[in-house]
């Protein structure tokens, strides 16, 4: 290869490795037809969509869904998550596929270039801070999951950090993506946990057709609605999927497969979210367990009498995996964003010495987050609140920038948003603003809604 490229100093290892991956796509298009072609192309082109969605079911998300089930049982939140949040996640993330494939640029780079330094810095700082804090919560999740198997936190957390580091340093996008996809498969362990909870099928079916919120709109219900939305669509997801689409080298021709990838990911994400709500909604809720103040470890222990040791171990494994995949994806979104904005080499196809800043940021973030968890008396409650604050703050701006970019005809050409996509996105932004404002009001006036 080196011989072939002699004299072409502008072509990096990154380009060559991406081109090798793209060549497989091109040859599949040329040499195969029918269902085999579709199957092979799907295998080659899926990845970013599934990863972003399963990364989104992170350790904090697992706890949010579990708390939701325990507090509200098998009611409102099942159809809310499956019929409302799953399509919503698809609609938002599909836009990043188009934006990445058409422009060949990441989200941070586009905000910086098209909206200037103020919004560029705002988005980047918010993303970096939010991701770092979220990363801390992922390490808490991973450590708690491993602790259930008898691994002390002091060993579990560094071990988790080593795995998060190890996945990204192969110098090949394809390898990192497939490894993470393999790990993300363990997210499905929550489905057997839900089955072990022996939910009443009639009650589950009824839950899906009734959209009523038991007890009406209380402060706790509003908080959980916002938390569930915040868990399903998060700012880092926009940055991650767009950058992953660019690093994978998807083009306009691949957009249908990018859509398929995103659809598969969002459906699986919805099913897993529902499984977690069922697991606690069919067990802890009828038993009247108060779980609002439980830590992740206590949550797993509280499940043992209902789903047995096997169910609890699967839940712990799922929690570890959720934290692991989220740590990889969330952290990558930061490194990609900084690389795009500051012009560093920023590809998983680059070796460490070829993209030193990209990998250094990835490593430093992991070390800081893991070390924070191990510090005795670290303000973890404050960190959790900060995660929520930053996510709440950044989501409407991130969505607005996404919408503006998708309407940028100069940038998007024939892939510019249609009227329906614009209406749906505008509705999402207005709904988010409304919910955030309501939550803000309940912060200022705690007795505004019934407790």
């Amino acid at each position: 290869m080196a011989q072939v490229l002699t004299g072409f100093s502008s072509i990096s290892t990154e380009d060559v490795r991406r081109a090798e991956d793209r060549l497989r796509v091109r040859r599949t298009r040329q040499n195969h037809s029918g269902w085999l072609r579709r199957l092979l192309l799907a295998w080659l082109l899926v990845g970013p969509g599934i990863l972003v969605m399963l990364g989104d079911n992170d350790a904090g998300g697992v706890l949010t869904y579990a708390t939701t089930g325990a507090q509200f049982g098998l009611g409102f939140f099942l159809p809310f998550l499956l019929f409302l949040m799953t399509p919503l996640a698809y609609v938002v993330q599909e836009m990043t596929v188009r934006l990445g494939a058409v422009t060949g640029r990441g989200h941070a780079e586009l905000i910086w270039a098209r909206f200037g330094r103020f919004w560029g810095w705002f988005s980047l700082t918010d993303l970096a801070l939010g991701n770092l804090l979220t990363l801390v919560t992922e390490f808490i999740g991973m450590g708690t999951g491993l602790a259930f198997f008898g691994v002390p936190l002091q060993i579990g957390v560094p071990l988790s950090a080593a795995v998060v580091l190890g996945v990204a340093i192969f110098g090949r996008y394809w390898t990192a993506e497939r490894l993470t996809l393999g790990l993300a498969g363990f997210n499905l362990v929550f489905v057997p946990v839900a089955l072990l909870a022996h939910p009443d099928p009639i009650q589950v079916t009824k839950a899906f057709v009734s959209f009523s919120l038991p007890g009406g709109l209380t402060g706790a219900a509003l908080f959980l609605i916002i938390a569930n939305i915040g868990t399903t669509i998060a700012p880092w997801m926009l940055f991650f999927q767009q950058s992953a689409v660019v690093d994978k080298g998807l083009t306009e021709q691949d957009i249908p497969h990018g859509r398929l990838d995103t659809a598969i990911g969002s459906i699986v994400m919805g099913i897993i979210a529902v499984a977690i709500v069922i697991a606690t909604g069919a067990t802890l809720h009828p038993a009247g367990k108060n779980v609002s103040d439980l830590s992740q470890a206590d949550f797993i222990r509280a499940l043992v009498p209902f789903v047995g040791g096997t169910g609890a171990r699967l839940f712990a494994l799922g929690l570890f995996e959720a934290g692991l995949v989220a740590a990889i994806t969330i952290n990558l979104s930061t490194s990609w964003a900084f690389g795009e904005v500051f012009g560093w080499a920023h590809s998983l196809n680059s070796r460490i010495h070829e993209a030193p800043w990209f990998y250094l940021l990835y490593i430093v973030s992991i070390v800081i987050a893991a070390a924070t968890v191990l510090v005795p008396g670290a303000p973890l409650e404050l960190i959790t609140l900060m995660v929520q604050l930053v996510a709440t703050l950044l989501m409407p701006p991130a969505l607005l920038f996404l919408l503006l970019l998708l309407n940028d005809r100069e940038l998007m050409g024939k892939w510019t948003n249609g009227r329906w996509a614009n209406c749906f996105s505008a509705l999402i932004i207005i709904a988010l603003l409304g919910l955030n404002a309501s939550y803000g009001l309940t912060v200022l006036f705690p007795h505004l809604l019934p407790s």
Partner: protein
């Protein structure tokens, strides 16, 4: 050459297809509604910072 190795011609074609020879981007031409939405966004950001600032002060016990 291994089956999955790239010839120079293929590499150049793939890089072109991928749009890696792109030009630098300028600022987005703003329409009235884009400008309005960005101003609304500024107000939103300030409001949310104030609201959550109150929450932090409450958590720190500085205000009741």
């Amino acid at each position: 050459m291994r089956n999955n190795m790239v010839s120079l011609e293929e590499l150049q074609a793939l890089l072109r297809e991928e749009g890696r020879d792109r030009k630098p981007l300028g600022r987005m031409p703003m329409q009235r509604w884009s400008l309005l939405s960005l101003w609304a966004l500024r107000l939103y950001v300030v409001a949310m910072f104030l609201l959550f600032g109150v929450k932090f002060l409450q958590m720190a016990g500085i205000i009741g």
